[in-house]
Symmetry: D2
Subunit: 302 residues, 4 copies
């Protein structure tokens, strides 16, 4: 494994990235575009890493997988009354599909779907904001994880598309709580800062049939875990899910902060970070690194 990481690191360092750091959230623009880190942890507890694997970055949409896990663990199949489980087939903030489907988002891993999840969490949790943070800390087994309030404020002030999505779904009756409260929680979940190490640790849940890696607690059932993995496979990469599946062949989730986490069921989870994004909004070097990893290792679910 370490040898693969070394090879990947060499190749990425020589790659000229053509994309750009995310600019739609002003606060995210200040990140050093040359950053690159990668961390792998397997179910036996082995760990391998390279580069800036302990640097904290904004996880953004990667939080959607953890949000879906938390809601699914509480509601089980009742979740699907409020959101679909099909790929969206169009870019991640499209209102068109939402209009045709009467305010029901295609899946919980796109923005509209994650906003519905936030609406559900307000009903399901006692104290949604700290409870959510504690869930993430538990998954990663790391109590130091925090929200980034600058990113939160920045997104709240400029996230007009997400405000539009939430109000649009509210007009269809698919948001039950106050729109501002729902968006507050949604933007908070996106603003969490984590390192590659923390993300790989947290996603062991999905690798490990729903059991917590350290405590052995069963957070998701085997069946729920399998199903969330399937969702990440078909819906985890915006409009590039097909291409990611095609090239990498692992379930995963990306974020516009430049992070990607992927898992090989029953084997390992891997997190990679590089803030330069391709035209589809996924980390350019991160996609490349994961493609190299599965090519070099021969690992793939297919």
């Amino acid at each position: 494994m370490q040898q693969y990481l070394n090879e990947i690191y060499e190749e990425i360092k020589q790659t000229h990235l053509t994309g750009k750091v995310a600019s739609y959230i002003p606060e995210l623009q200040h990140v050093d575009p040359s950053k690159f880190g990668m961390f792998i942890t397997d179910v036996q507890g082995n760990q391998w890493h390279i580069g800036d694997h302990l640097d904290l970055f904004s996880i953004q949409s990667i939080s959607k997988a953890m949000t879906a896990a938390l809601v699914f663990s509480i509601m089980d199949e009742a979740l699907w009354l409020r959101v679909g489980k099909e790929p969206s087939g169009s870019s991640f903030n499209s209102l068109v599909q939402l209009e045709y489907e009467k305010g029901v988002p295609r899946n919980p891993l796109i923005n509209a779907g994650a906003i519905v999840m936030a609406d559900l969490l307000i009903d399901l949790l006692n104290d949604p904001v700290p409870d959510y943070l504690n869930f993430v800390r538990k998954l990663a087994n790391d109590g130091s994880i925090e929200f980034d309030l600058n990113v939160f404020e920045s997104e709240k002030k400029t996230g007009f598309r997400n405000i539009a999505l939430a109000n649009f779904m509210k007009s269809f009756g698919n948001i039950h709580n106050d729109v501002d409260d729902v968006l507050d929680l949604y933007f908070k979940t996106c603003s969490i800062r984590m390192s590659c190490k923390q993300l790989a640790d947290a996603f062991l849940l999905f690798t490990n049939h729903g059991f917590h890696k350290n405590t052995g607690e069963q957070i998701l059932t085997v069946s729920q875990t399998k199903r969330l993995n399937a969702l990440m496979q078909t819906c985890g990469f915006y409009d590039e899910a097909g291409d990611f599946t095609y090239k990498v062949g692992l379930p995963g989730k990306s974020g516009v902060g430049g992070g990607i986490v992927a898992i090989l069921p029953n084997k390992y989870s891997v997190a990679v970070w590089s803030p330069v994004l391709n035209a589809k909004g996924n980390s350019e070097a991160g996609m490349k690194a994961l493609e190299l990893l599965t090519t070099l290792s021969g690992h793939s679910i297919f």
Copy 2:
């Protein structure tokens, strides 16, 4: 004319209306569904009326024609940099078209377009809210016209679709001011209460080549007036513009409060009110009454 009104009144009173009073704004539901009024005024100053022609009702989208007139009178052709002048071809609050056309609404007479007009008025007027009200009072030559603050508050609390539209356009850069300020002005313009008499008087502007009926002041140029009339012809009735043009053959504008105003250029303006709406959101009896008027009188622009 009076004989036509009498005949129309008889026929409407015997018609069983199958639609419903607008319910999407809670405050509008309290209107008596059996109300019906009609008022005609010509350029010579003659007036004819029937039924509840002095009752005040919520003008709602009828305000859009006056808003467009006010903006057009100040900006002239520069207006069309921010909004189109083509029919929308889909229902009045569709986000689909807005997404394909990058946040530029199809015309100023649909909700999205009128929200852009409100954004412009904030830049163009010294004190937008009272200045707008004064413009409407001037057109109708009646200083008693007021906003209905209950309707305003009701719409502000429940107008999720319009909040979505405004934020969506803001995300494309086509709203320049604070979204809340823009929506405040927009909801205020819709909340104005007027009678059939006041509306018919106000719309004499469009009948009368842009000249004020009493003072003779030229508010719109002849060319601007002709162009706004053309816009009302093709875009004044949501998704039913074609059918209205087909059956009535006069330019006009309707609102979900149940009012419709139409004009025969150079001759007269006519306002009708009945709060029961058809499936397209236009007054059921109002559409019928105008169709009868043009059939009985033989008046039509075609």
Copy 3:
């Protein structure tokens, strides 16, 4: 009138056209782009003309207004069971709207709608192809009018979009006859060659309350004529209907052969021809000429 035509001619001759001759039908590319003709005829029988007003050109979509008149004169309101009467709000060969509306075209003046009309004519006429030609000859009072079989063959071989439209509607059950037969008739109607004079003469029908200009025969009822004029106003210019209405203010119909016919109800009909098209598929100089005509003359229905 003649003075207006002279002024228009001067101005058009000095205008640098930026568009292109229609290329999607190979046979239409061979037209001389510098051609320009205009012909006006009024209900009293007066005539004025300028330029190449006797040159024959391919009328293309202008035929749709005559097709609609023929079907409407036979079926009356039953026509609207098969086609709508609302503006299309998107470009003239869009399949999107057709898919959402289950194979029912928005109006008879777009391609899909005219194909449905051709399907109806096969059921309504004894010998559709010659019967249709005779109807056009009667309207223009000119037995020399012919199909252009080169254009017909050219369009039949390359009209993939129209073949797609017809088969798509057939899949929804809105085409009753054999698709090839329907398209044959449709392409034939588009291939007719006429001059500005012949077109202006034929469209006197719409100016003249449905009465034939020479024989006095009532071909359409007054009401039917009024309604077709209203349709031409809202739907006659593809995606540019709003702009044409806005600038010209007359009902009319254009074709990609570069012809446009418009009418001032009860007064006159006017045909103009210049083969260079703007981005929307309407004659660039033709649009300009009609805008000048209504500006110079002050004529407009608004």
Copy 4:
């Protein structure tokens, strides 16, 4: 395995199916709706089966996976210049997405994509119809496989949606050969009749890293096989791909003849057939049977 099949058979026999046999191709309506067969073959050559596993049925869209394999084996990555590899996100014969994406289908496993594949095969094969049949016979190691000319003729006469798709793509330049020739080949590939046994045998190619199960010939590279499996995972079930992935967790392909084939990479391929379809166009009992198989066996790629 046999025990799982027995249990599935018992459960299916007691299930009341609520769907209907495919009716859009008249010839397919004559199938006995109570038929049910299932066949599993693993890479060691073991075989298990139940019910009507030797009955021949119309494979319909299942052919698309074999067509994609044949084209991919010849063109390799150049294939993706003509078709995408993303899920379609809307129903299997939508023209909307095709219009927005300028005639390039989302993936080779939807109708539009498979029509483009047929266009490519005309260029790539010496004698497309027999060459294609021979490829399928080789995959299944069974020279008795034939086209069903009644189904072919039936589909050719009534496949208006597919004729529309092909002409629409031709209008964008994404079909190079004569539309009739392309559709002839496309309808032929869909009309092939195979049994569950033959299909399971043929799909061992995808289970077995691209190697032919009997001859050992490498038909696809390991990488190509992995990539086609990934495509089947995200795009193999029309608008139900997400739900299938979610419930079954195996790559596969279904057809409106009621057949479904799925594979567990490196282990086995399984074919199931029951002609009653659910609302999405997939075999109702077939979906259920595969869900039971992965639940009982614990097999899934996730």
